[in-house]
């Protein structure tokens, strides 16, 4: 370990650490501009200079790039240091008067006027904020490995540019340069030949972008960041690795792989939720064609305080608040042809809620709702909708919309008001589509795995619509929420509670009690053809080896899992050797019953 003194305080650091590292471990703040922990330091901006008083060649050295040495005595705030920093800031201000970071630093250093004239007339271009610190150049070259940015020229005429001033065909469009730039002077679009492809933020419906390292959504479990391998530079090119350098906990491990986890369980609850159907198939609504036509889920994110605009509701097309908004109900729902015949169940209520949220955001705005009929069956639901109508939060128009089209920067919503029998046209700023709910993709694969049936729309089937709405036909598999049918939150919560108690009811006992009417195998006559295995809908039949006392296998016969068998009798009917019978409904029992009746 190396011991040195900083501002009179002793500190120990490992060999190879810089003065800046040592100062940080003491909690001292030394201003930096061209420094980033993941990029090899260059000591170019000179703002981090500190004074070596003793222990090495005395003078000013850059803390970020100067190694700590045994016995060094460092001053971080001496007159000489502060004079140098002030001068550096004045010179940088003369070069880049528009750089807010420099302005702030200058203010913090008590600089009120600058003896140096501005080096060039400022046009307000972003690149004028560049202080030529070269952090982006070093990053792109040494960390990303792309070398898409370089310096052009030298001395005061130096510029950050691309090789030969051409748009760089080696730029990966990763935007790391813009991220590290201390003054916000970089627009990666200036360097990249193809448009910078931002990674859409899935949780915000792609309305904003995210970095390759991200936490999938707020309150995720576990609430930890993950690396998106498809977009990570490290996985794409083998370069970068900045996160590994920076992470103080050493938690980054590029060798980690996705893995299969096997668990033995007593019960399974399917709760895979829903998706909304893509409304762009209905060209008349213009979704996907006009940026201001959004789905209700997108609208939900737009008005959310944790959403892409931090809760500020703006038109995607121009960033203005929408003064007129139209909500269209039943987009795809209750539509026999080319849609979903079922009611999506929740749209009436959330649309009423959205109308209220809209009024909260845009006080002077006008909201319209096109509806077929309002289905507000639930506690206080009807009152809620009536309030929206009565308080004129939204104007409800009963009818369908035939077309949404653009006129100027407005969207014209043309529809029918069936109550007055007239055609209406509304010039809207934004149109919100209440698209139909559909089960999550992949539900069919899941249903096969669980051996649970699904209906024509893909929703999982319950065992009995009235008597066993939470169970499935497969014992131990239960349903909760929208995998079963479109549901709102209270209903989903209720079903989930029921499913949970059902599951607990199964696993809380040491023994499982069942209906006795299940299949049994006569092992003496079973010839092991396993025709029965194929017909069992519940996966209850498996192979069983019969062994003698020495452990030699005598025969392989069918075995019925008593916990899974539902007693349907399909196996008994299939069995050619008549080796399977359903308990309580054995042939001899049935014949005995018939004989008793005849007697």
């Amino acid at each position: 370990m190396i011991t040195l003194t900083i501002d009179g305080q002793q500190v120990e650091v490992e060999p190879g650490k810089t003065i800046l590292d040592a100062a940080k471990s003491l909690g001292k703040v030394i201003p930096t501009l061209c420094y980033h922990p993941a990029v090899p330091a260059a000591g170019a901006c000179r703002i981090c200079v500190v004074e070596v008083v003793a222990g090495d060649r005395p003078g000013l050295v850059p803390a970020c790039a100067y190694p700590a040495k045994e016995g060094m005595d460092i001053q971080t705030q001496s007159d000489r240091v502060m004079q140098s920093r002030r001068m550096t800031l004045q010179l940088l201000l003369a070069r880049s008067p528009g750089a807010e970071v420099i302005q702030d630093m200058a203010r913090d250093h008590g600089i009120t006027e600058n003896p140096f004239p501005e080096r060039a007339k400022q046009t307000g271009d972003k690149s004028e904020k560049c202080i030529m610190c070269g952090l982006c150049v070093r990053l792109c070259q040494q960390i990303i490995g792309a070398s898409a940015i370089c310096f052009d020229g030298r001395g005061p005429d130096r510029k950050v540019s691309t090789p030969y001033n051409n748009q760089s065909d080696v730029c990966l469009g990763c935007g790391a340069c813009a991220f590290v730039c201390p003054t916000g002077a970089i627009d990666p679009a200036d360097y990249s030949p193809s448009p910078i492809e931002k990674i859409p933020n899935e949780f915000n419906c792609g309305l904003d972008s995210r970095t390759p390292i991200h936490i999938p959504f707020p309150q995720a479990v576990p609430n930890k960041p993950l690396i998106d391998r498809d977009n990570c530079i490290r996985f794409k090119t083998g370069g970068c690795g900045a996160c590994e350098t920076i992470c103080p906990a050493g938690a980054i491990n590029y060798d980690m792989e996705d893995e299969f986890v096997e668990e033995e369980v007593g019960a399974i609850i399917a709760a895979t939720g829903y998706e909304i159907m893509d409304p762009s198939i209905y060209e008349e609504y213009g979704y996907g064609r006009y940026p201001d036509v959004v789905t209700s889920l997108e609208f939900e994110r737009m008005v959310s305080a944790s959403g892409p605009t931090n809760g500020e509701l703006t038109r995607p097309s121009n960033g203005e608040p929408p003064k007129t908004i139209v909500f269209l109900q039943c987009i795809g729902s209750r539509r026999e042809v080319n849609g979903k015949p079922y009611c999506s169940n929740i749209c009436c209520m959330y649309t009423a809620k959205h109308a209220i949220l809209y009024k909260h955001k845009v006080h002077d705005g006008q909201a319209f709702v096109f509806f077929m009929d309002v289905r507000a069956a639930g506690k206080n639901y009807d009152q809620f909708v009536r309030r929206v109508v009565k308080e004129q939060i939204a104007t409800y128009v009963r009818g369908r919309v035939s077309k949404v089209f653009a006129r100027g920067d407005k969207l014209i919503v043309r529809g029918a008001d069936t109550l007055s029998g007239t055609q209406v046209e509304i010039a809207a700023d934004m149109v919100v589509l209440a698209a139909a709910l559909v089960p999550s993709s992949g539900i069919r694969e899941l249903s096969q795995k669980l051996r649970v049936g699904f209906d024509e729309h893909g929703f999982l089937l319950e065992a009995h619509p009235k008597l066993r709405p939470v169970d499935t036909n497969t014992a131990g598999v239960f349903l909760a929420g929208c995998c079963h049918s479109p549901k709102d939150i209270p209903e989903s919560v209720a079903q989930a509670g029921a499913a949970a108690s059902k599951a607990l009811g199964l696993v809380c006992h040491t023994r499982l009690s069942r209906e006795p009417t299940i299949g049994i195998v006569d092992e003496s006559s079973c010839n092991g053809c396993f025709e029965c295995e194929g017909v069992c809908a519940y996966g209850a039949i498996s192979a069983k080896e019969l062994k003698d006392k020495k452990g030699n296998t005598l025969a392989t016969v069918a075995n019925i899992n008593q916990g899974l068998c539902q007693g349907c009798g399909a196996c008994a009917a299939t069995c050619r050797s008549k080796s399977i019978e359903v308990q309580g409904y054995r042939d001899d029992q049935l014949f005995a019953a018939i004989n008793a009746i005849n007697r």
Binding site: A42, A44, C45, L60, Q83, S84, M87, M132, C133
Partner: protein
């Protein structure tokens, strides 16, 4: 170990044959300086004459003797006569010399500078007693202008590579001790003890190690290294081989600026020839030591003379310096221990090893040993390369060797060390020149450029000139140098335009101290020196520019008005002839007059007037 005895004896024979040639031998100084003055045409003419007229004579192209103001130089060696050196030999003069001296008996004494070998011809004095040669000690330049730089036998005959062979016999330890005993300090500017630098690199961990020759001589008005490389390239190679042997390096690079094509050519030839003799390559002379060299051409950046920038450039990166430590001795080229010395330092080494460190340390001052080559330029009568022992005073160089200021001007100052150096004013003329004394005076040895300035030189303008150079040459990496020097230059431009303000001097000093303190590399660290040293000795000139809006030297156009003193003007008409705007009028032999409305203050008349009748108002 092989001794190359046969090669040496052959070389000695060839050299002897040349010295005792039965036909006249004409040595033409054909280094870049000579060629610039027309040596190429002289050689061409000479060869045509010899061929066409079937004259029995031999022409040998040699390097530079250092008397640049008298170029082209031709030395004629007639059998039985001493060598005679002629100056300012143009294509006409060479024909005269051929006719009158080579073919006749008239030694053309009016053009002769002196005899270079014992013997007398007419009344021609000795070359060594020529004013420009007296006081010089030719140690580094011993071969320049004497040998054919493309003929290795000449070098071998003059003890070439004997220092290297001695080093191989002595072993690295004793060789290093010899260098230490010599007290040789780096000639590139900083004056760091060479032996110590070698020692650092030698003991540093890491393989392989490298040696580099810094031949990126970039100071305006400095050309010592070029002359050495052009006139005696072998000595650089030999010095590097010795250094590499001590350090344990197997490969070396010579980083030459691309503006030195002749030096690159001569070095390449020397490398080829040395390889052919087995003095470079694997297992040199069966000693077990291997060493080879490569030339890297610089693309023209002053900052690449800084060692870390030079290394970056060799590696193919942008020539920008980096923060030290680590120093190149620890982590240099490709991150390996690297030793960098400049041309003159390397060139000093062979003789030190051959003749012993003691002989070398016998010359010079207590702290600075040996000789130093200076390029003496500017407003002095004799310009050229001079090699003097350390401790020689500035007066001796400027007045004795240089012949003092031109015309009847008064000496004002000498800029020492190029743009990074500083000026030494007249009162300090008796300062003995060595590394430390120059530093104390606020200048530096630098690589050895001496620019003489007289009373027609404006010191503010000089500072502005050097800063303009440094602004151009700053790599732009660190804020202090990139922005600071540019702002200093802006202030100087303003002052020279008559827009100086109160507080400018203080701001310059403040900025100068800041740039010196805060810059990343030594180029930036020394960049304010021209301003700080002129402020130190010529503050009154700055004040006159700012407060009185006058430039006494008559340089800063915005501050100058020229007038003709009717009492002194003889009406010769020289100024009328040269005035670009026809602003001067007057009858012959009558006092002339300058029309202030037409005058553009170019200063031609001021420089022209043989009677100093043009005055600065």
């Amino acid at each position: 170990m092989r001794t190359l005895r046969k090669n040496y004896s052959e070389a000695a024979d060839q050299w002897e044959a040349l010295q005792t040639s039965s036909v006249p031998v004409l040595y033409v100084g054909a280094a870049t300086c000579g060629r610039a003055a027309g040596a190429g045409e002289v050689i061409e003419r000479l060869q045509t004459e010899i061929r066409d007229r079937q004259i029995a004579a031999q022409v040998v192209e040699v390097g530079c003797l250092g008397l640049c103001c008298l170029e082209p130089l031709v030395v004629v060696h007639k059998p039985g006569s001493p060598q005679v050196c002629y100056g300012r030999v143009d294509t006409d003069r060479i024909v005269h010399i051929l006719d009158r001296y080579v073919l006749g008996d008239d030694p053309c004494a009016e053009w002769a500078l002196g005899t270079m070998t014992p013997g007398e011809v007419d009344s021609i004095g000795k070359f060594s007693e020529h004013p420009m040669m007296t006081g010089q000690v030719r140690h580094v330049l011993r071969n320049c202008g004497v040998i054919d730089p493309k003929d290795m036998s000449h070098y071998l005959a003059r003890d070439g590579y004997r220092g290297f062979m001695k080093a191989l016999e002595l072993g690295p330890d004793k060789t290093l001790k010899e260098v230490k005993k010599a007290g040789l300090r780096g000639r590139g500017g900083a004056g760091f003890p060479t032996w110590q630098k070698w020692q650092f690199c030698r003991t540093a961990s890491g393989e392989p190690k490298y040696v580099i020759c810094n031949a990126d001589e970039g100071d305006p008005g400095a050309f010592m290294d070029r002359s050495i490389m052009e006139g005696d390239p072998y000595s650089v190679l030999e010095g590097m081989a010795i250094g590499a042997y001590v350090i344990g390096a197997e490969s070396g690079y010579i980083y030459v600026r691309g503006e030195y094509p002749l030096a690159i050519r001569n070095l390449s030839i020397a490398i080829e020839q040395s390889r052919a003799l087995g003095l470079l390559g694997d297992n040199i002379l069966d000693s077990g030591f291997s060493f080879d060299l490569e030339i890297v051409r610089g693309a023209g950046a002053f900052v690449c003379g800084e060692e870390t920038a030079l290394i970056a450039s060799v590696q193919g990166d942008i020539g920008s310096p980096r923060q030290r430590p680590p120093y190149p001795a620890q982590a240099g080229l490709w991150g390996k221990p690297t030793n960098i010395n400049n041309v003159e330092t390397w060139s000093n080494v062979p003789a030190i090893i051959l003749r012993g460190g003691k002989q070398f340390s016998g010359i010079g001052t207590k702290q600075s040993k040996g000789t130093k080559v200076f390029s003496l330029v500017g407003k002095v009568r004799n310009t050229g390369l001079v090699e003097v022992p350390m401790g020689t005073t500035m007066r001796e160089i400027v007045y004795d060797i240089g012949g003092g200021p031109q015309k009847k001007r008064t000496f004002k100052a000498v800029q020492s060390g190029g743009p990074s150096g500083g000026c030494i004013p007249a009162p300090l003329l008796d300062l003995p020149i060595d590394f430390d004394k120059l530093q104390e005076a606020g200048a530096m040895m630098g690589s050895g450029g001496l620019i003489v300035m007289d009373d027609h030189t404006c010191m503010v303008d000089v500072a502005k000139y050097f800063l303009a150079f440094l602004v151009d040459e700053s790599c732009g990496k660190c804020t202090a140098c990139r922005e600071g020097v540019a702002q200093m230059h802006n202030i100087l431009v303003r002052i020279c335009q008559g827009e100086g303000r109160d507080g400018d001097i203080e701001l310059l000093e403040q900025l100068g101290t800041y740039v010196k303190d805060t810059s990343l590399c030594q180029l930036g660290g020394t960049a304010p020196n021209p301003v700080l040293s002129t402020l130190r000795y010529f503050r009154d000139e700055y004040e006159a520019h700012i407060h009185d809006k006058t430039c006494r030297a008559g340089v800063c156009k915005s501050l100058v008005r020229f007038a003709i003193d009717p009492d002194t003007c003889k009406g010769c008409g020289l100024c009328v002839r040269d005035c670009p705007t026809d602003a001067i009028s007057g009858e012959k032999k009558e006092p002339h007059h300058i029309d202030a409305d037409l005058c553009v203050q170019c200063g031609v008349c001021y420089e022209d007037c043989p009677f100093d009748a043009v005055l600065v108002e």
